[in-house]
Symmetry: C2
Subunit: 526 residues, 2 copies
């Protein structure tokens, strides 16, 4: 007795910007992909944990939303006790809250993984969503860079498990301490230089896109882009700029991006002999010699990279799968030690048909300060996050079996020829389902042709028909929809015998009790 | 160079009320449970679809939030273009939006399933969360009650697939048209009686809790509960009350709740001979005779129930698995036809140790008006929703293999005895992982005893140890932590030979190259 008459003003069926629905093929493929990642992580002793989508805004470490713009960056809303809540914007901040809350109960070091949607209240764009999926792994409670090395090896194993071939990816490792030490060594230390340091790091991060000339401008006075917009630079002196550029040269020589092949990556890491500018036998030694005396933090950073390098080597991953790359910056401010990035090195075509590298599908690093927000004492932690949809796109580009080959065949459709026989048709469906065959009764009100069209649209291989003639004879007609389509398509080009054989294949009658066997035979054809 | 020193005021690590974290055992069990449901749904030809967590508030069919209480019932927030967004509060409203948006593209009737979290901005309580998981299946575009019958059969199959035995559950079916017709027949038709109809339906819905006497009061003047609160009644006349109560008597006689066993359910559906009050050979005929002449909608409802009954019978589910129960109301206002409820009938103990029925784990019904909100024309639809956490609790109470038997053994732990040998220990770990054995390097900074305690806490079966002595001999010590615990526990009660044998089992050395074989042997012990 509810009033369900359509309202005069209907509501528009649409999604808010930056949100998307997903269909069966994408869901099945993503699930397969997630299962493969999970399997690898569990092999490494990481265990699943899950936190809710909503947290206290202050627990996420963002400032309370401005009253005028309560949704800056995150989706926020007030609880009925006036406290601010937010949708999680990543899986790291909730993990820090979780670990702090369960600190004494957890076996430490605590290895865990989490997968799920996160939300960003940002301007959406092509391939840029306001809800997207991340897959994270973190080790909390270990100050050893062995934890960082382990996650890098796990990232490599994960990519291979997903069908990405060795040589098609590289895990690049750097250390924030090295970057911080570099800035200290060129005199950018102290609180008064905090903002300039940030400008320098941002400039380094843009090396990929802008190249050395662009970065040089950003380190100096500034840079005007194609559109005429001016970005103010860090205002470094020429000496300082040159020192930072030397660092970028180091990068050049270990950089897979610049045309290196898997086979010659390894020698490049170990010797930079190919570069006339930095003719050192060992990149890390070269770095140490250049800046080690000027900065304690730089020395520490290089020593940590060296240990990671050894661990990676003894794990067998020193063959170019995991490399040290001093240019890796990673945007997030909270990193305090090693940072790492998983990069796909194979080429895809961009929108103009030009070949481009696929690029980063995940990254992470050490964030010793994050749990400390809750506990008042530093808790060492390191973690890695995979951008699931980006990786998914990469696997599709590579035609990885993980994301393809999902069963796209529809269920067997039992047609409803006589409405008063629906109970009998239902019984056919149940018989098929009991035999483990995906099957459905046609539930619409259309006639036979429309029902067959429905079955085609569902991708069904076969349809089951019983009209009054068949019923009297105790028979059922099996229609092979794939063969049927071939008959229609090729009828003209066939000789009569061929045609008749195919037609017999496409549609035949069996005794009702042979239903399951006959359907199994047809399904086995494809 | 980020400032990560702990702040003087730390943030409290806590979750907002009504939200919960989940650990590895619960996640693994839930995943197994979801996979089983998914498998059954796919056998029925239902396909996966997924919608985002955020929708336009108006698309969800709730009124725009009041400015004073913007979060009434749902979590809502304004987008930067001032439009209201909400977290989905169920999976049906988003499906209606999805179908309306993709109407022409979808093969109809469109069978789909969706699983995921939904959000309610309500007062949380014990077992009552503000984020919880639902698993829905819906058929859109079919006006035939065969679609409703199919979903009821699928619900039965799903519960059995999850390990719930036949007889431990029942799917109860009713029809809103019958309820609406009943109210029409006793003179409660027309817009002027809309609120009274709602009061009557609410009273019927409370039959389980209040019994006939309580419902009688709610149908008449009203009822004062134990706490002294007065609920105003529907104000029906004694005649009207008696007619409605007759309907409840019908229910009594088909009700599994009131002591019926599976074996005698079926005869009860077909004959109500056991009841002296309604001595009719067939409940549906009895209903028809009583009200059919007075209400067209009642007749329609009974005819639909009869067809469902036939379909269920011909599918083989008429053995008490699916029964017609005229008392099923279901709260949601948007139902327009058949309604159904999956109820677990076995007993569990309540907080006072008294046996209680487990009760409802899911339900649904036909909602022909929901898609119409978007399309301006009615689109027939019917759907079923499982309360995942409630069902999960039920499976645990039943000790279903679906939710137990998850592997709770921790990974093999390789101890770090000498810090400068960490690369060698890492190599052991990699060797084990490459052999498919879950393994991890101890990543903390504690001594040997604490490392072994860590392995115990992780639930590890074995630990790998190599000190300098072993290293010189090229050996590795395997420690069987389970046998080790037995040695400690039972040392006093054993004779010397037994003790030595167990001790040898609990810890032994092997040549380094035998690592994998030795670990496999130990793992095979448990």
């Amino acid at each position: 007795m509810t009033d369900q008459a359509p309202k005069s003003t209907t509501v528009k069926a649409r999604l808010p910007r930056g949100l998307a629905d997903r269909g069966p093929a994408e869901i099945a493929a993503t699930n397969k992909m997630m299962a493969a990642i999970r399997e690898t992580y569990e092999l490494y002793g990481f265990e699943a944990v899950e936190t809710p989508f909503i947290e206290y805004t202050e627990a996420l470490g963002k400032f309370l939303p401005d009253l005028d713009r309560p949704n800056e960056g995150v989706f926020s809303f007030q609880d009925d006790d006036d406290q601010w809540l937010s949708l999680r914007y990543d899986l790291t901040a909730p993990l820090a809250r979780y670990v702090a809350e369960n600190y004494d109960r957890l076996a430490k070091p605590y290895r865990s993984y989490r997968a799920g949607f996160v939300f960003r209240n940002e301007k959406p764009g092509p391939g840029r969503f306001r809800q997207f999926m991340q897959f994270d792994a973190d080790t909390v409670g270990s100050a050893s860079v062995a934890a960082d090395a382990e996650i890098c090896m796990m990232a490599a194993d994960t990519l291979e498990k997903l069908g990405i071939k060795r040589g098609d990816y590289v895990i690049k490792v750097n250390n924030r301490k090295v970057l911080d030490g570099l800035l200290e060594a060129i005199g950018l230390n102290g609180k008064e230089n905090a903002s300039r340091r940030l400008v320098v790091l941002r400039a380094l991060d843009k090396y990929d896109r802008l190249g050395p000339a662009g970065v040089k401008l950003l380190l100096g006075e500034g840079r005007r882009d194609e559109s005429g917009d001016f970005t103010k630079g860090a205002g470094l002196s020429l000496d300082q700029v040159n020192l930072v550029l030397w660092f970028l040269q180091l990068r050049m020589n270990t950089d897979f991006d610049r045309g290196g092949k898997t086979t010659d990556i390894n020698p490049r890491i170990k010797t930079l002999a190919s570069s006339s500018e930095v003719a050192e036998p060992d990149m890390l030694s070269a770095m140490d010699r250049a800046y080690g005396e000027k900065s304690q933090i730089f020395r520490e950073g290089v020593a940590e990279l060296r240990l990671i390098s050894q661990l990676v080597e003894s794990g067998g991953y020193g063959d170019g799968r995991i490399i040290i790359d001093p240019s890796v910056v990673r945007g997030l401010e909270y990193y305090t030690g090693p940072v790492y990035e998983a990069e796909l090195t194979f080429e895809v075509k961009d929108e103009h048909g030009r070949p481009v590298r696929f690029g980063s599908v995940g990254g992470g690093g050490r964030y010793d300060g994050l749990v400390a927000r809750f506990r008042g004492e530093p808790v060492p932690a390191t973690g890695f996050s995979i951008g699931v949809s980006r990786l998914f796109a990469a696997l599709k580009a590579l035609k990885s079996p993980i994301v393809s080959g999902a069963d796209t065949r529809g269920p067997v459709v039992v047609l409803v020829m006589d409405k008063d026989q629906i109970a009998a048709y239902q019984a056919f469906v149940t018989t098929l389902r009991n035999a483990g065959i995906r099957a459905e009764l046609y539930l619409g009100s259309a006639g036979m042709n429309a029902q067959l069209k429905y079955a085609d649209k569902r991708g069904s291989v076969c349809a089951i028909i019983q009209g009054s003639n068949e019923r009297e004879k105790g028979e059922i007609v099996i229609k092979d929809l794939v063969a049927g389509a071939q008959v229609s398509a090729a009828a003209k080009d066939m000789d009569r015998n061929e045609y008749l054989a195919l037609k017999q294949r496409a549609q035949f009658a069996v005794p009702a009790e042979k239903l399951v066997d006959a359907v199994k035979d047809v399904l086995a054809r494809y």
